[in-house]
Symmetry: C2
Subunit: 363 residues, 2 copies
């Protein structure tokens, strides 16, 4: 279980397959985010039709509502949300550490107040493992501390804490049908990243997540960190870059050995009326599209582009019709999932460099 | 074109087929309502999969936004909203007459203020025909005046006006690929209803709509009016009971010779968290369903019931997730569309009476 098979490389880019209890996961892979046990506006069959293979759900949100114990009683997250493919949960740490005024962290864990009702809760490594074991994803991650990427002192402390917590998560794991990924931290500091990677990989996790990137540092710093980690992280296990999902980042990160991605971007943009196009975004609320008979993108194979004009989509947004959010989410997810499929195919047939160059030229 | 073929009767209940430019329409039929050129939360392919055959759109709403002229430029309503089956528009009259403080009616037409921006507009029979010819549905209806059902004096005036306006609509019709239905008014007053039916049918429309019912009168009055109209309206043309869509009403009205229905109920109830069941409604926001593993209805063939528990649906509603509205709309539409299919099948095989009795007993 959770065997990662490397099928092909193109430079440092990797195409592989990760075995999970809910099916084989071709990598590199982009996971749509289903924060509250639903990828916003999408049914599981919509996701299957889009070719989504992996879905992420949020431990923090589901712990608070409807509660992980309830999800367990309902047969686990797969059954609860009707998704039969591989599932991934985050640790909840990122959300908790984002609750600036509502949390207090110590070496043992973090105490926080719910954003829903102000009630007080505590996450420790053991608690976060218990929650994820109740939720039942195929892949769980360790509780980590995500520090501001440019704060050296904070990152020294967070890296040390993340290591201790990773060991405690590893030790408290009970389920053998879930892969637990360790998370590497260290901000933009090469020595801390290297140290964190060595500490985390020493715990022999079946996969490694890269946290604390795309949270405020420069693109150059992101890419330099990925360059460094590609050399340190074991090549026989998958690498998961958390929270990243822009098209250009796919190329840059895959070229640096990353296998897995997740991001709320496609559905969040849809809620703002924005559609993803190569190298740009289309704000469909703009009046200029009111009589535009063309689809979002000519040649796009998604249902939205095959069926509806920009004019109709703009009408739906102007009229506050939910269908508009659904159709834009569908297009945006297709855009990223389709791109990742093409990236994977290009690694398999050794044309990744050409695909990346062509994308760069057109963007 | 627009030929109505009566295939079978069961008592006064009728099963037939209405030919339209966008396909044959089996009757009796229930039309989901797509007020703003979308049945709320549903894609056209969702509707097709549910077996919807006819969709209603609102002249008033589409005239105001995005504008019927724009819809015409975009190729008409079918193309604009991606629905390739038969379409029906109302006249806009019902909405305008519901704008209590914002409208002024005279013998020539009605002046009103937009609920969107307060701008002033005027509907006359000719204007409403021009709008519907721009929108391009298969079936259009005449501008009518819908009076409070128990107000005798108002109904006398409204019936006379409705007749004059019907004649003007008929005279101003240009498109030959749209069926124009006349509308019978008259409130709960048998003599007025009979008089209105005679006047309207004398104009030789290809179908007849029954307006001004289910707007405040008793069920007995509704059914007595349908009894009366069944005798007066020609049997070789379809009868359309506007704005009615409760399951029990299907049985009562079909048993009195009605062929067509529309109602916002299934999608409106969904937005309130209510699911349709035989004889009752389930309020899925209630805490009692928080850990209920059963589907909305055991044995229901809809995607929602085949895939999700009440617990999951309640979670979606509690978490304000749009998917909850979609899945409830889908179930509610399935419930009514499936019921109407069973009613039609029972007329064809002469078991309508048994089906109606069994429904009554279980409700």
């Amino acid at each position: 279980m959770f065997e990662y098979t490397l099928l092909a490389t193109s430079g440092r880019a990797r195409a592989g397959v990760l075995r999970t209890p809910h099916g084989d996961l071709p990598t590199p892979v982009f996971a749509p985010v289903g924060t509250q046990a639903t990828v916003k506006t999408m049914t599981p069959r919509d996701l299957s039709e889009l070719g989504a293979t992996l879905v992420l759900a949020n431990t923090y949100h589901l712990y608070l509502r409807p509660g992980s114990e309830l999800v367990a009683r309902m047969g686990g997250l797969h059954r609860f949300m009707g998704w039969s493919g591989p599932l991934l949960t985050d640790s909840g740490g990122y959300q908790v550490f984002s609750l600036k005024t509502l949390r207090k962290v110590d070496n043992d864990g973090v105490t926080f107040r719910s954003h829903l009702d102000g009630s007080t809760h505590r996450f420790t490594p053991e608690k976060v493992m218990a929650i994820q074991e109740e939720l039942g994803p195929d892949i769980a991650v360790c509780l980590d501390e995500c520090a501001p990427p440019l704060d050296r002192a904070y990152n020294e402390q967070a890296t040390a804490r993340t290591h201790v917590w990773a060991a405690r998560c590893r030790a408290s794991q009970r389920r053998t049908d879930q892969a637990l990924f360790g998370i590497v931290q260290g901000g933009v500091f090469p020595d801390l990243r290297e140290q964190s990677a060595h500490l985390i990989t020493s715990l022999d996790f079946p996969g490694h997540a890269i946290g604390g990137l795309s949270v405020g540092e420069s693109k150059e710093q992101t890419y330099a960190t990925l360059d460094l980690l590609n050399d340190v992280l074991p090549k026989d296990k998958p690498r998961y870059l958390m929270g990243v999902g822009a098209a250009q980042d796919f190329f840059e990160a895959v070229a640096r050995g990353v296998d897995m991605f997740d991001c709320v971007l496609p559905t969040r943009l849809a809620r703002h009326g924005a559609a993803l196009l190569k190298g740009r975004r289309l704000n469909l609320r703009n009046a200029q599209y009111a009589a535009d008979e063309s689809p979002i993108q000519e040649g796009c194979g998604c249902y939205t582009c095959q069926t509806f004009s920009r004019a109709y989509l703009r009408h739906l947004l102007a009229a506050d019709e939910i269908l508009g959010l659904h159709l834009l989410s569908l297009h945006n997810l297709h855009f990223l999932l389709d791109l990742m499929r093409r990236i994977r195919a290009s690694i398999l047939d050794s044309t990744f460099g050409q695909l990346a160059a062509a994308w760069q030229a057109a963007s």
